[in-house]
Each structure stands twice: as C-alpha cells, then as structure tokens.
C-alpha cells in the first residue's frame, strides 16, 4: 500500500475517533459514537498490516497474540461489575502505558524497522520523541498500577508521605531531562534503560501520596498521561492516527482532571502534591465534641418518605461499596408508585472516578433523565421534602459554605440541609474522607440511619 494512501486512511481513523468522542455528548448518540471508534480501530489495524506487507509466519503470530489479548479483554469487559469500573480503567491505563514503553524499546533496539535510522545512529528528533514516549508511558504504567492497587484495596488508600518527597520527585524529573540530553549525545542503550527505570519510579512516587478520595483526579490525570504517551510514540512512528488520538485523549484527561479539581475547589497542584486529609484527621478527632444526634430506623425513614411529595437522593461512594444501587432503585420504584416525585443529585466528585455514580444508577435501570448534576438540582433542595443521603458525606457538608477555616471551605456542595428533612444513611458518625465532622449530622431536621446502605434501603422498602 502506498505511503500516501495509508497516511490518508490513518487520518480517516483519527477522524472516526473524534466522532467517537463527539457521540458522547448525549446518551442517544453515544452508542453510534462507540461504533465509529471500533471502525476507526479496524481501519488503523488493517492499514498497518497492508503497509507492512509481511504476511509470513510473523503475521500468524501477530493474529494469535491479538486473539489472546482480545479474548482476555473481552472476558474482563463482560465479567467486570460496574462498581469496579475505577479499578478497571486504572488497570487499562497501565496497559497503554506499558505498551508505549514496549514499542519505544523495540524502536530503540531496531530503529530501521521504523525508518528511524540504524542502532546507535538514530535520528535526533526520533530519539527525543522515543524518550518522551517511553518516559511518559512508564510513568503512566507504574502510576496506574498504584492507583489500581489503592482502588482495589490491596494497598491502603491512605496517603503515604515522607520527608523530602517533593524534592526527590523534582530531582528525579530533572534527572530524566538530563538523561534524555545525554541519550541524544551518546545514543547509549544503558542510558535508555536507566531513563525508563527512573520513569517507573516517578510514576510510583507521584501516586503514593494521593489519598483514596482524590482518585477521580488521579484516574483522569493518568488518562491524560496515557494520551500523551501515545502521542509521543505517534511522533516517533510518524503516524497521524496515533498523534490525533494521543492529543484527543491527552486533552480529554486534562479536562476531566480540571473538572474534578473544581468539584473539590482545589488546585491541581494541591491534589498532586498530595497528603490531603492526613493532617486534618488527627486534629479533627482531638477536639471532637459530643453533640446530640437524632437517629432512627427504617420504619421512621419510611414514614417520613411516605408523607413526602418530593424526595431527592444523594448517592456517594458508600453506595458503590455497599452495592446498594439496585436496592435503591427498588425503593424509588415503590416511592413512585405512591406518587412521590424522586430525583437524583450527583456531585461531580461523588465516587472514585468521573461519572461513577451515573454508571451505577444506569446499571440499576434508573432512567438518566431523573439524574441531575449539582448545578441543575441544587436549587430544588429548598422545595424538596426529604433528602436521602446514601453513602455520600463531605459533598453535603454545609461547613464548606460557612467556615473559612475548614479544609473543604469553598468546595461546591449540595444544599441538602435546605430540605425539610434529611435522612442520612451511614454506618457510624465517623468523619468522611476530608477528616472533618459533618455539621449536617447534628441539624434539627436530620435523622441518622446507622446501618449498611443496602440493608437499610431494603428495610425501608419493606416498610413503605
């Protein structure tokens, strides 16, 4: 296949990828968008086979390896529970990162296959692109692995910090730049390996100080990195499809990180530098005063809701942990049968990744037009009778609006306290991730329901 034709077809697949993202602007067009993405991928792979034009034994092996990876991926995609989506995405990011590293290594060892020169005499620009692709890929890989381990609970979600951490990271980053320069001067393969090793180390070091509830930012950030890694490799291979895709994914992840940071009213650097909540937790528990709390049972909650005319549900990460989304929808069905208006309010950072709650509710067959974002629904709390907070905490804390001393001051919160009554499903009075007490617990109109979210929801449904 001529180089010009394949370049045009790569461009077509890049455009199809743009359309794939474009489709996600509404649920109706989203499935078509996904199809565009698949077509784009098929074109890119087919064109690659045709332009390499090697259909010997190697080609058979490529198909075999493709089939192995493909069936593994398909198996995971069908088996994964929706609650585990953050782990899955983190895991997938790590694979993109590692694949980028492998491609870069292969190009370094055998540059002539990629038209980049000969070993020890690689074109300067290609060498720089390769080094960037490999370094960003390695950072994506090890960072995603740590994110995966934290989300999976294999590693504690608590931030791990030590003295001189930021200084060490900064030094390592400078070292990477120096190594890249020396690599270009000497073309030494040892330097290339050291560069990759240090990049792995950086990925590891930048994610360990970030706590569990900051995961939405971390996942988005790693999403972005995987895009930049792909773009770096795209420049090396002079491949338009990869360059376009890398840029798309890179900016997509960056926007998501920005949205998540705004949802917490924190700067990107504040999140990345990490350690949030670690210091507040200790101070918070020391001066905790005993304040009276009203607690109730499923029967009280059912009574309140039965007499309401509108109910707003505020789900959070706790709902995902308790797998309560199906039980919740059953409760809502019963409420709707009693002519009670029900809507869902989703905070931007609810859950462990962007849009996490929406997917869980969609899984439980909640129609998406009953689910609202913070800005859309926040004014409705004042007119609602009951707010049902299930598994959310910090995102409802009115302290964010009233107390400038509070670590979450300025964070946009759901105005849950404006409801006539608030039902708060929670296992105990322990503070949320930010390590601060929630004023909402002690309000006159709040009824605490101390139980597992799923069990409590089921009990309420029985009592309705």
């Amino acid at each position: 296949m001529s180089a010009n034709l394949s370049a045009i077809l790569y461009l077509v697949s890049g455009v199809l990828f743009i359309l794939a993202l474009r489709g996600l602007s509404s649920p109706e067009t989203s499935r078509q968008g996904n199809l565009f993405g698949i077509i784009g991928m098929v074109i890119a792979v087919t064109v690659t086979f045709l332009s390499v034009g090697n259909f010997g034994a190697g080609f058979v092996y490529v198909l075999i390896f493709l089939a192995i990876g493909g069936s593994l991926g398909a198996f995971i995609a069908y088996r994964i529970p929706m609650t585990a989506m953050p782990e899955l995405v983190a895991g997938f990011h790590s694979l993109v990162g590692l694949a980028a590293v492998f491609v870069a290594i292969s190009a370094f060892i055998n540059p002539s296959a990629f038209n980049l020169g000969t070993p020890g005499n690689i074109k300067l620009a290609s060498l720089i692109e390769m080094a960037i692709g490999a370094a960003v890929g390695a950072i994506t890989f090890s960072g995603s692995v740590i994110a995966f381990l934290k989300l999976q609970g294999i590693m504690s979600g608590a931030p791990i910090t030590f003295k001189g951490q930021h200084l060490l990271n900064a030094l390592l980053l400078i070292l990477i730049v120096i190594l890249t320069i020396y690599l270009c001067l000497t073309q030494s393969s040892n330097l290339f390996w050291i560069l990759i090793a240090i990049s792995f180390l950086i990925g590891f070091l930048i994610i360990i100080p970030i706590g569990g509830a900051d995961m939405p930012v971390v996942i988005s950030m790693l999403n972005s990195y995987s895009g930049w890694a792909a773009a770096g490799i795209g420049f090396t291979l002079e491949n338009t499809a990869l360059i376009i895709t890398g840029a798309l994914v890179g900016s997509s992840g960056a926007i998501l990180s920005y949205i998540m940071c705004k949802g917490m009213n924190r700067s990107f650097f504040n999140v990345i530098l990490g350690g949030f909540g670690a210091t507040d937790q200790t101070s918070g528990s020391q001066n905790k005063e005993q304040r009276p709390v009203k607690s109730g049972n499923a029967d009280d909650a059912a009574f309140l809701m039965k007499n309401a005319s509108s109910v707003i549900i505020v789900p959070g990460y706790g709902m995902a942990v308790a797998q309560a989304q199906h039980a919740l929808r059953e409760m809502v069905d019963t409420l709707k049968k009693n002519d009670i208006k029900v809507s869902y309010a989703i905070h931007p950072v609810a859950g462990r990744m962007p849009g996490h709650m929406n997917v869980l509710l969609a899984e439980a067959n909640v129609p998406y037009d009953e689910v609202f974002e913070l800005e859309e629904i926040n004014n409705d709390f004042a007119n609602a009778d009951v707010a049902f907070v299930i598994g959310a905490n910090d995102v409802t804390n009115p302290v964010a609006k009233t107390d400038p001393q509070s670590p979450i001051y300025g964070m946009p919160v759901l105005d849950v306290e404006k409801c006539k009554s608030v039902l708060f499903v929670k296992r105990s009075l322990s503070p949320g991730y930010a390590g601060i007490d929630n004023d909402l617990f002690y309000k006159e109109n709040t009824l605490m329901l101390f139980a597992d979210a799923k069990k409590m929801t089921e009990d309420i449904t029985k009592n309705l």
């Binding site: 790569y10 697949s13 990828f17 993202l21 996600l24 602007s25 509404s26 649920p27 989203s30 499935r31 996904n34 993405g37 991928m41 390499v52 034994a57 493709l66 990876g69 593994l72 991926g73 398909a74 069908y78 994964i80 989506m85 995405v89 694979l95 993109v96 590692l98 694949a99 492998f102 491609v103 292969s106 060892i109 055998n110 620009a125 999403n223 792909a230 773009a231 490799i233 420049f235 090396t236 002079e238 990869l242 360059i243 376009i244 895709t245 890398g246 840029a247 798309l248 890179g250 900016s251 926007i255 990744m353 962007p354 849009g355 929406n358 997917v359 129609p367 998406y368 009953e370 689910v371």
Partner: protein
Amino acid sequence: MEIDPFIFRLSIFILSIFVGYYVVWSVTPSLHTPLMSVTNAISSVIIVGAIIAALSGSDGVVFSSSSIYGFLAIILAAVNIFGGFLVTQRMLAMYKKKKKDK
C-alpha cells in the same frame, strides 16, 4: 525552502488538542465514565506501533529481541482495545430514557 514533515505532524497534534478540548467539553457529565473507557480503547491504537515492531524480524526470524517487545505490546493493546470498547458498549447500553407510558 522545504518545510520539515515534523512541522506538519506538530500542526496536526496542536489542532487535535483543540478539537479534543471542544469535543470533550461537550460530553455530558453523566457519560464521563464511558468517556474514560472509550479514550482508553482508542489510545490503544498504539497497537499499530506494536504490529510494526512485531513484524520487524528479518527473514525467517519471527522472534528477535525487538519483535518480542512488539508481540508483548500487541497483547497489552489488544486487551485494551477489546476490553475498552466492549465495556463502553456495555455501559452505554444501560443508559435508558424514562418510559413515557408511566
């Protein structure tokens, strides 16, 4: 004087960042999780590099030191492509509208 092809690629890159910027802002927040899984799937187009690397072995030699990395990358990228698109499909199939006849 001729323009270096690198400049063309850089132009594509920069313009794509802007396209990505505007397209992603128009994505509805409720679909942010599928957005992440589909971006994951499409960034695995890195498989084109993996395929070139895997087929780089000289005549008769399928597994050379450089092609092995290609084969490994093919497995990783394939997991991502199939896993990413399928899980996105699975998620998107769940987003349904309220039935009108209630």
